[in-house]
């Protein structure tokens, strides 16, 4: 691991371009947090990964500036650290002494940010381009807010409850007013019945009387 890093640093210094340095006005700093993103499945950062990075940046530049054939050699990287962070600058394919300005580089990266991220299995947060704000995905806005739907359901249920309550109280009242004249007729009939039978419905049942009846029946 350590010798790989040393080799990388030597390689970087071999490719060193004096225009690429920290806080350069033409480039950006990149920071990768591979272990945070992938945990146990983290890959080791080596020169192949760096090659992929430079290639994907070249891809982004090609996409943004139509027609210009950016190559991997146009992406110059320096100041690589153990953090896995480094600076890069972009030279023009037509004239390597000319650097592409920051706005174009930024626009290119924003345009193809997703593709660059997925090449490394990282996200906007773990593959950080310092000072380039990510374009945040807006949350899905529903045509009808879902809370209104739930509200409608509950309100409908409650409204139905009220209507049921009012209707049932009206129906009960109607039954009472219909029931009263019927009850009066029933009372008269039972009174007539009691007179006919000679049985007293009101009053205490006379126990001794009933016992006598049984004896007499026998």
């Amino acid at each position: 691991m350590l010798d790989k890093i040393l080799f990388l640093l030597c390689l970087a210094s071999a490719l060193a371009d004096e225009r690429c340095m920290p806080d350069t006005p033409h480039g950006f700093q990149v920071r990768l947090s591979i272990k945070t993103a992938l945990g146990d499945e983290a890959y080791v950062w080596n020169e192949n990964e760096m090659f992929l990075f430079r290639a994907s940046l070249a891809f982004a530049m090609r996409n943004h500036m139509n027609g210009q054939q950016f190559e991997v050699s146009n992406i110059i990287v320096c100041n690589e650290t153990m953090r896995v962070s480094f600076w890069f600058i972009v030279t023009s394919p037509l004239d390597t002494s000319q650097l592409i300005d920051q706005e174009n580089v930024e626009a290119a990266i924003r345009q193809s940010r997703n593709r660059i991220n997925s090449a490394f299995l990282l996200t906007d947060k773990t593959l950080e381009f310092v000072d380039i704000l990510p374009t945040l995905a807006t949350l899905y806005t529903h045509p009808t807010p879902p809370w209104l739907i739930v509200f409608g359901v509950v309100m409908g249920a409650v409204g139905a409850g009220i209507i049921i309550m009012l209707v049932s109280s009206v129906v009960q009242k109607k039954r009472k007013t219909n029931g009263k004249p019927q009850d009066k007729d029933d009372d008269e009939e039972t009174r007539v019945k009691t007179v006919e039978n000679g049985d007293a419905h009101d009053g205490v049942h006379n126990m001794s009387f009933s016992e006598d009846e049984r004896f007499t029946k026998m």
Partner: protein, 570 residues
């Protein structure tokens, strides 16, 4: 069958559940845990239980006795006790009316949050993105997503109480829904209320139990519970502790509103209310303790999460500044590395020195919140960190709703019952009362509504209730006469009240109430011009000490935990 027979509860169980549902309210969840934390954790239970025995249960018993004996609402009952003191009943009704005006807005908020829980991502979990799609909205970025959701999207709060914007339509709809439900529960009087309380009294316990299990299995919950229960006995020497315990018991049981008199007036004449009074008071206090265990488990979880996030941020900062490989610093050795780096690269470290080293678990645990802030901001933040947060959110807000509606039923009944005793009352009395409160309460759904809510909550009823109950207990003990009262109780229960009750009613409780009353007056006078905290969109933090003119009053958040008056939502 008498057409004018007073309706009754179907069973004594309905009456007990109605009282439990009324007494166990939002204050048990959001006020008691705060008091426990401020006044020495487990040690606070001592003054709390002493006040319960000395003040809570005797006064509760007294109100139930009056209602059951007189079989009338508060106005009729007090007029029957003494014709000159019918005003006490009227005062109770007016206080209940004040409460009914503003209390339902809390239920409207609960509904709002409940309806918003049916989304794949809870709206208070993430900040919405601004128009440029470059960053979250600034106000949300500087505060937190939960605060932003509450103050901006739920309340759409203005920056001062003088700025009255329009009505928040969503709020108004939820408010309408709450009143419709309240109406539905009281439209048939005790017939409907008696059925509803089976649910409103029991389901919150189910949710609390589920949350207890969920809470204890959360990462870091034990920190919170340990913090709460370690007693700090020196707080017992502080008189504010005892005053707060007395106030909490007083407001938590809902004395003085006339609701207890109204509920017990529908009892059978020989109902054993003595046992029920003790049961309900104990259930109420037990629920407070139960709820605070759950709350502190949640606090511990939230504090631990915040602490670990802070450590993570510090770790990233160190890695980025000193360009170290990712796996050199992990969560356990952050502090060691801070010292190491400070020693080896002092100048570089100085640049970031302000942002490091301020992660403190104790400090996170010590942040105590009460009131709607606890229920709607702190709790919802904790919920966003739980797996399956939609489920927990729905459960939680249903519980808040049931607690709120249960208390609301008591207060509406306290208004309707005395009015129904006057035979001239119409069939639509319940509907009229609800409609009246709905229309006036729409003012709380405006952009400055939360400030008005705070005024009503702090000043609407606290003073009046103390005074009402003081007059009540003095009337019963001295004007009506304790001997007559004893006889009435013997008539209903079959035995005279114990010497303990008599001493409380005649001497101790009135004395305690006078002390509380004097304390409140002194506080009020010494408090100076009241101030309130306002949410300013530009500054996005609470502006303190905002002077107001004489028409508008409030109390600063900073002052609250030092001195009452206390909110009535107990």
């Amino acid at each position: 069958m008498e057409k004018d027979a007073r309706p009754n509860w179907d069973s004594p169980m309905q009456f007990v559940l109605a009282c439990v549902s009324y007494a166990v309210g939002l204050g048990n969840v959001w006020r008691f845990p705060y008091l426990c934390q401020m006044h020495g954790g487990g040690g606070f239970l001592i003054p709390y239980f002493i006040m319960l025995l000395v003040e809570g249960v005797p006064l509760f018993y007294m109100e139930l006795a009056i209602g059951q004996k007189m079989r009338l609402g508060s106005i009729g009952a007090w007029t029957a006790i003494s014709p000159y003191l019918g005003g006490v009943g009227l005062a109770s009704v007016v206080t209940s009316l004040y409460l009914c005006l503003y209390y339902n807005i809390i239920n409207a908020w609960s509904f709002w949050y409940l309806f918003h829980s049916f989304q794949s991502v809870l709206p208070w979990a993430v900040c919405p993105i601004n128009a440029n799609r470059t960053a979250p909205i600034e106000e949300c970025e500087r505060a937190s997503p939960t605060q932003y959701f509450f103050y901006r999207e739920t309340l759409n709060i203005s920056s001062t109480i003088e700025e009255n914007g329009g009505i928040h339509t969503g709020q108004a709809l939820c408010f309408l829904l709450t009143w419709v439900i309240t109406y539905l529960c009281v439209v048939r009087g005790v017939q409907s209320t008696g059925k509803v309380v089976y649910f409103t009294a029991t389901f919150p316990y189910v949710v609390l139990f589920i949350y207890l299990i969920r809470g204890f299995t959360l990462h870091g919950a034990v920190n919170g519970v340990k913090y709460m229960f370690t007693p700090k006995m020196d707080q017992l020497a502080n008189p504010t502790t005892w005053i707060n315990a007395a106030t909490q018991i007083f407001f938590s049981l809902g004395l003085g509103f006339g609701s207890l008199i109204a509920f017990s007036s529908y009892n059978q004449y020989n109902n054993n209310f003595e046992r029920q009074a003790i049961t309900v008071s104990l259930i109420n206090s037990g629920t407070s303790i139960f709820a605070s265990i759950v709350t502190f488990a949640i606090y511990g979880f939230k504090a631990t999460i915040n602490y670990e996030n802070c450590l993570e941020r510090t770790r990233i900062l160190l890695l980025n500044t000193f360009n170290l490989a990712e796996d050199t610093i992990n969560m356990d050795n952050v502090f060691e590395w801070i010292e190491k780096l400070n020693a080896t690269y002092p100048e570089q470290f100085n640049e970031i020195a302000n942002d490091t080293g301020n992660c403190d678990l104790e400090k996170e645990l010590a942040t105590a919140v009460e009131g709607p802030g606890l229920a709607f901001i702190v709790y919802s933040e904790a919920i966003t960190n739980m797996p399956l947060s939609q489920l927990w959110s729905v459960l939680y807000f249903i519980m808040l709703l049931l607690l709120g509606v249960g208390s609301m039923l008591g207060n509406i009944t306290a208004i309707i019952t005395p009015l129904q005793d006057f035979k001239a009352a119409s069939l639509f009395l319940a509907g009229l009362v609800c409609l009246f409160c709905l229309l006036l309460g729409l003012g709380f759904t405006t952009t400055s509504g939360n400030y008005w809510f705070t005024i009503f909550n702090d000043y609407g009823a606290t003073f009046s209730l103390l005074f009402i109950v003081l007059i009540e207990v003095i009337t019963v003990s001295y004007i009506y006469g304790i001997k007559r009262f004893e006889k009435d109780i013997e008539d209903m229960l079959g035995h005279r009240p114990n010497w303990y009750w008599k001493i409380m009613w005649v001497a101790i409780s009135p004395l305690l109430l006078i002390v509380l009353f004097v304390f409140y007056i002194v506080n009020y006078i010494m408090g100076g011009t009241p101030t309130y905290q306002a949410w300013d969109k530009e500054e996005v933090s609470f502006k303190t000490d905002k002077q107001t003119n004489r028409l508008t009053e409030g109390q600063t958040y900073a002052d609250r935990h030092l001195t009452p008056p206390r909110s009535v939502v107990e």
